[in-house]
Symmetry: C2
Subunit: 379 residues, 2 copies
């Protein structure tokens, strides 16, 4: 065995492990084997594999938090165990260990050179601001819904939102390729409606949902670009994270990407297992090329806490290799009367995703949008 091409570069990952110190140390040792060689230490050949390939416990310290005792383990992995591929990176970080209880991935550390091998967000927050010509204020976005409307009806709605100055108008993530409104028909009509209705001098972006069967994501994305879509929406939990990465890396496409969290909730529902919202909705989404990451804001239809929302925002913005910072995009039952509180909480680096409230606040959708936009512009 001559691992001549192998470098010694390592990534550093923090996990939350439950139990007393003995249990936590056993869990850490287990994790180091399970995520790499996947077999007991005693059958490994001596040398390179146990010394380099097996994960390494770098430090362990007790976390002070209510409930069951828990520890933070810093574990390092040889970067080459990932082969530089996002699929295998996810496997090393949380593949088998996802099947065991009491292991939670809490964050990727900004160390090592592996993160630099991922291009990440093509635009990032700053790039999206430049595209929209909005250098300072929070961005406003909305979703075309409900599923079941025809493409014409969705396009009419898109036109109303655009005329009211909503910056980013996305498909609801449940609009796929149903007989009610096929992808092709919908994307073309909505892009057209948004272009025609946008106030003079304002750049408004339409983002169709390209979540699709494995062979169709690329094709739908390029179709969307041809008919004038200004961004893409995708649910990486449904397509695989790497399908989003492939869109972001496609130089012939070059569109901003909004990531939707559908089907990913199980990773974050237990505090003792899964992946932290910081890592999953912040760091993983950036590694996989999202320019904005959608998540449910505290107090809406979903049960995310304020701490979790803050975590996600931090995960969007904290340094990680050369990855650009991206927009947190809180949504899920947002209401006009909460906007002051939301502006206070998120500051300016945010894209608000408002759905039903833009339709429900009064009969004139354009006017409802203008009220929102005015409040945001005043901030």
């Amino acid at each position: 065995m001559s691992p001549v091409q192998v470098t010694s570069d390592r990534i550093f990952v923090r996990y939350r492990l439950t139990g007393d110190e003995t249990e936590a140390r056993a869990k850490a040792a287990d994790l180091c084997l399970e995520q790499t060689v996947e077999c007991p230490a005693d059958i490994l050949p001596k040398g390179f594999i146990p010394e380099q390939v097996v994960g390494r416990l770098e430090s362990l310290h007790e976390l002070s938090a209510p409930g069951m005792p828990a520890w933070e383990a810093r574990i390092s992995f040889l970067s080459d165990t990932t082969g530089g591929e996002l699929t295998q990176l996810c496997n090393v970080l949380f593949g088998n260990i996802s099947l065991k209880k009491g292991f939670r991935l809490s964050r990727l550390e900004d160390r090592g050179t592996l993160w630099e091998r991922f291009k990440g967000p093509r635009f990032g927050g700053d790039g999206l601001r430049a595209l929209l010509g909005q250098p300072c204020r929070p961005l406003l976005s909305t979703a075309l819904k409900p599923m079941g409307l025809s493409a014409e009806e969705l396009a009419a709605l898109a036109g109303c939102f655009a005329s009211g100055g909503v910056d980013v108008i996305k498909d609801d993530h449940g609009l796929a390729n149903q007989p009610f409104a096929s992808f092709v028909d919908r994307a073309e009509r909505c892009a057209d409606a948004v272009r025609k209705a946008a106030p003079t001098g304002r750049r408004i972006i339409y983002a169709p949902n390209v979540t699709a069967p494995a062979g169709d994501v690329h094709e739908r994305a390029h179709f969307a670009k041809r008919v004038g879509a200004g961004a893409l929406l995708i649910c990486p939990g449904l397509t695989g994270l790497d399908a989003m990465r492939a869109l972001a890396d496609d130089d012939s496409l070059g569109l901003p990407i909004l990531a939707h969290p559908a089907f990913l909730g199980s990773f974050v529902t237990s505090p003792d297992s899964g992946i932290s919202p910081y890592a999953l909705f912040g760091q993983f989404m950036r590694l996989a090329g999202a320019d904005a990451t959608i998540f449910p804001h505290f107090g809406g239809r979903f049960g995310f806490s304020l701490d979790e929302c803050r975590e996600i925002t931090d995960g969007c913005q904290d340094a990680l290799g050369n990855l650009k910072r991206i927009f947190p995009a809180p949504g899920g039952g947002m209401k006009l009367q909460r906007l002051p509180e939301l502006l206070e909480f998120y500051g300016r680096e945010v894209m608000f995703l408002v759905g039903a409230d833009l339709v429900r606040n009064g009969p004139d959708i354009k006017k409802n949008c203008e009220i929102y936009r005015t409040m945001i512009e005043k901030h």
Copy 2:
């Protein structure tokens, strides 16, 4: 709006909802909206959308189980909400609701015609038996490991396993395209070693791991076929379920598929959230084309219960549309002395996945394999 192409076919799905009856009813109503139109009922246009597109609570009954009260809700969805696509089917079944607590998808009912739109497993258990020429007995499989070995070393190990008569020899799911052993080099050498070492008259299959970046899965699978691989291993939690479906549906490929559960554990770690092992590792894997589904057996390195293992086995075999039955493939720390108990538990329709124990039971790997095989053949 003229939904002329829409059919009235519906799918029926069971969810476990926690809480008292009032809470369970509220959760069911929420689910019906959240998984389809994703907005409050009061802003929906009258007619087709609330009557057909919104999910429908068909029945609700209390579950008798220890702990918090829980209910089984049977919910039906218009099949056309999925557009016939696996990605959007997963979204309708568990997209947004994954982000809320107290909702668990427990099973898909064998009703409606949607399941027939998925080809599912190309081989299924019977097809795999026919390929291997093993009509009756349980199958034996193993994994090439540890990561860090060179392609030559892995091929030598593959040869030992083949000479010992292991039916299916798969890459460890952590072998991707690392500098230690590139995919191309490894697949070619291991396929060759297995072919040369197989006992006369025995069909032994090598299954390389084609878990790969989005654009590379197809290419690696076809390369594997060209060099003589007899099956494919993939981790649909890493690539997206639909990437596996695309491999299964590829007529120019035509290889059996083994599904590995890496990165999917968070769906099953909480009894109150996520997706049941029955649905996830049984039904979903079949819908997505797996011919065998790997999962951690009770009492090994992982924390799965006997009930969960039985659930998965049932999910592999219970009727669902025209989908073929597939092999449950329990693994994860299997030991020779447990084989009688395992044979008793699973019966004949099983593929045992034995890893380290084939290497550790004695210095002669070929002989270790033969001991296992003999015990299985006697059954």
